[in-house]
């Protein structure tokens, strides 16, 4: 019997999958595997869907974690629950987000082949030394990160950037960056219970407002110019010294060893805001294995998935061959790498991971909307607030300060919050429940009253800070509304 395995790995990872397959065949004499490279991105996953639609699918398909829910919704995958039960595979065998990303509508549709701890926060020790920073002390708070980013940035005679400490939105694309910082700031993007998109969560807004502060500090067009020269592999900006700090996925360890073996770098947890942040935040990505609808040999297909994703020998084989982490938390492979440089740090990260990207059928749409929100915010595509209301009985000092700041922003002060683009309110006033202690609240949309508002900006209430916060709020609110509409339509079965 021959099983068709469609995988997504080119280059060295292709050799890894061949190695895994060889070891599987060695202990399964009756099953031969035919591994076929079928790249999976938005342009090429059509091949898989065409194969399923025509009734000639492969036996096993690799599916990206966030694709599991949409593919299940579209009817391309088979639920694995009966097989999992028979094999005694339980959720607690896996890192929780790895299991979560494969669970949709009460069923489990895939098992995680590789778990990507997103991300390791890495820094160039050499760049730290050159900038006069302690190479063994990475930033642990956003405030420290900002200071270090400034110290690590070099400008040329014409003001152009020669290198930069950090580009917040360049962590594997704007959408992944938004997830990364959004969670680190304490935000949430989706509530699976109520199927509500929450990408305009106040802490996600706060994260985006912080991200675009780099546009003001370093000039967004100069950063874009620098970014346009970023390459991959040998030309990766972190390897070539163009960027001193970044987020790195675990495959980066192998890549650095190959393309920049002399790079002096270290990895630790992601920094988080001192106030209201979630320290040591991360999320899990990674590829999963599943059985397509219409699979000719489902029992043997599941045995391949079980061995590769769950069996101690299989997960060890996959880990050794690929250098990636298995999704199975109790795999003996982890004992092999715990003491290895960099791998140990990534293992610490994945053991604390609590998040996966929202498990919902409009996942690709959400990613594009988040990217659009980040783009719109950083390129100034959203107008600053025109009308502002300040709700502060008795004109306290802060209200006077805010009023001055806002007049400097070119905003008109209005009395009625219902007419204002943005309303500023003392968070300690009655009926306004705001987390993170004492703040001043800002409400954006006209429909929201201060009492019902869920948005807030943290001090300092400078004009710049309020403007960025407002822009981030509008951008993310739009993304939230659009994605919610899309999701509701899919769930309703509408066009």
């Amino acid at each position: 019997m021959v099983l068709d395995l469609w995988h997504v790995w080119g280059g060295e990872q292709a050799a890894a999958i061949d190695e895994v397959v060889a070891r599987f065949e060695a202990c399964h004499p009756n099953i031969r595997i035919n591994p076929v490279f079928t790249s999976n991105d938005l342009a090429t996953s059509q091949k898989f869907f065409t194969a399923v639609a025509s009734g000639a699918p492969p036996d096993v398909i690799f599916v990206d974690g966030p694709q599991v829910a949409p593919w299940a919704e579209w009817g391309a995958l088979v639920p694995l629950d009966p097989y999992l039960e028979a094999a005694g595979i339980k959720p607690q065998d896996y890192f929780d987000p790895c299991w979560q990303q494969c669970s949709y509508e009460g069923k489990t549709w895939a098992l995680t082949y590789c778990a990507d701890p997103n991300f390791g926060f890495v820094w160039s020790r050499q760049a730290f030394r050159e900038a006069g920073l302690d190479p063994d002390r990475p930033p642990t708070t956003i405030e420290e990160l900002d200071e270090m980013a400034e110290a690590l940035t070099r400008r040329g005679p014409g003001g152009e950037l020669e290198s930069i400490g950090l580009i917040p939105w360049a962590q594997y694309g704007p959408a992944n960056s938004m997830f990364t910082w959004g969670w680190a700031f304490g935000g949430e993007f989706y509530d699976p219970e109520t199927r509500t998109v929450t990408a305009d969560h106040p802490d996600v807004v706060r994260a985006l407002a912080w991200m675009i502060s780099y546009c003001d500090r370093f000039d967004v067009r100069r950063i874009s110019a620098l970014e346009a020269g970023f390459g991959t592999q040998e030309q990766d900006p972190f390897y070539t010294g163009l960027m001193a700090m970044r987020c790195l996925h675990i495959g980066g360890i192998v890549d650095i060893g190959k393309y920049a073996p002399d790079l002096d770098w270290a990895v630790s947890f992601l920094p988080a805001p001192e106030e209201g942040g979630k320290p040591r935040s991360s999320w899990v990505g990674g590829w999963c294995m599943s059985i397509p609808e219409g699979c000719p040999h489902p029992d043997e297909a599941f045995e391949l998935i079980r061995w590769t994703c769950h069996d101690p020998a299989g997960t060890t084989a996959a880990g050794e061959a690929s250098g990636l982490f298995p999704g199975m938390a109790t795999s003996p492979y982890f004992d092999q790498v715990r003491d290895e440089p960099h791998y140990g740090a990534f293992l610490d990260i994945i053991e604390e991971t609590r998040h996966q990207r929202p498990v919902m059928p409009s996942q690709a749409f959400l990613m594009r909307e988040l990217a659009r929100a980040v783009d719109a915010a950083r390129f100034g595509k959203i107008a600053p607030p025109k009308t502002v209301a300040i709700v502060a009985p008795g004109s306290p000092d802060w209200a006077v300060e805010v009023e001055q700041e806002l007049s400097g922003m070119g905003s008109t002060l209005v009395a009625d919050p219902a007419e204002a683009d943005i309303t500023v309110v003392d968070a300690t006033s009655d009926g306004v429940a705001i987390p993170h202690g004492e703040h001043v609240l800002a409400v954006t949309t006209k429909a929201e009253t201060p009492e019902g508002a869920h948005g807030y900006a943290l001090a300092p209430l400078t004009a710049d800070h309020l403007r960025r916060w407002y822009i981030a709020r509008v951008a993310l609110h739009r993304a939230t509304v659009n994605t919610q509409n899309e999701l509701d339509l899919i769930l309703k079965g509408g066009g």
Partner: protein
Amino acid sequence: MASTSARRSRGWLRTELTGLLFSSPAIIGLAAVMAYPVAASLYYSFCNYSVLKPPTWVGTANYERLLTDELFWTSLWNTLYFAAFSVPLGIIVAFLLALLLNVKVRGMTVYRTIFYIPSIVPMVASSVLWIWLFNPQYGAVNALLRHVPGISDPPGWLSDPAWAKPTIILWSIWGVGNTVVIFLAGLQGVPQALYEAAEVDGASPWQRTLSITVPYMTPYLFFALVMGLIGSFQFFTPAMVMTNGTGGPADSTMFYALNLFHRAFSDFKMGYACAMAWVLFILVVIATLVVVKSSARYVYYESADEGAV
């Protein structure tokens, strides 16, 4: 009489059937790979359809939703913007190039080849080349621009929302070789006698071009206009390659076809995407009709022989 006519009609039927038989591969092929998908896409545009599950009828919901889809309007605007600049600019550049390449000088075939070469470079390859030519920091274009007095800070091109569309319009000019070839062929048909007569009358080269060449070339210019319009409405590949499919920065290169592609193949909303395709089709038909209907006013059809009389 009757039997003769019956024989005739039998003979007619025979001829018809034979004709149909011989053209059947083309007819069946066109019906299967063109007519059916086109008809099916019209049907699906009124459905919710995600390929693997059977389509469900939703009436005009997809079309209604387009009206409120902000990205639909953005992508339509980007596409119209692109067409409005790239088509006329392409025609003007191609026409000027054709005039230059029609001059009788030594080595003209070499020049003609040089200007045609970009048209045979695959779109993806030339798009990738363009990314690097227009790289803000290391690109050849900005390296040259920095030597121009007064330009200390050249544009960010594809990385700047304000410049991304103009950059792609510039790219489209690069591939005018095909149009140049058509124009060159057209230029051969302009009667030489008219030029000689005009020269005798003391017309300047500029007057000769404007009063003789341009009128005789209008059918070719018209052809280029129609084809250019259709092509630019469907503009896709370079936007996909140059922006990695994002249509960024900040939606500035989110063209209609790229948006449609995302709706179809990222979101598997085939019904919605089919509705978009039909709206695009209707827009192209309208634009083409406007151009064709108005062409009587400015297109001059007269064969070169008649003109020479």
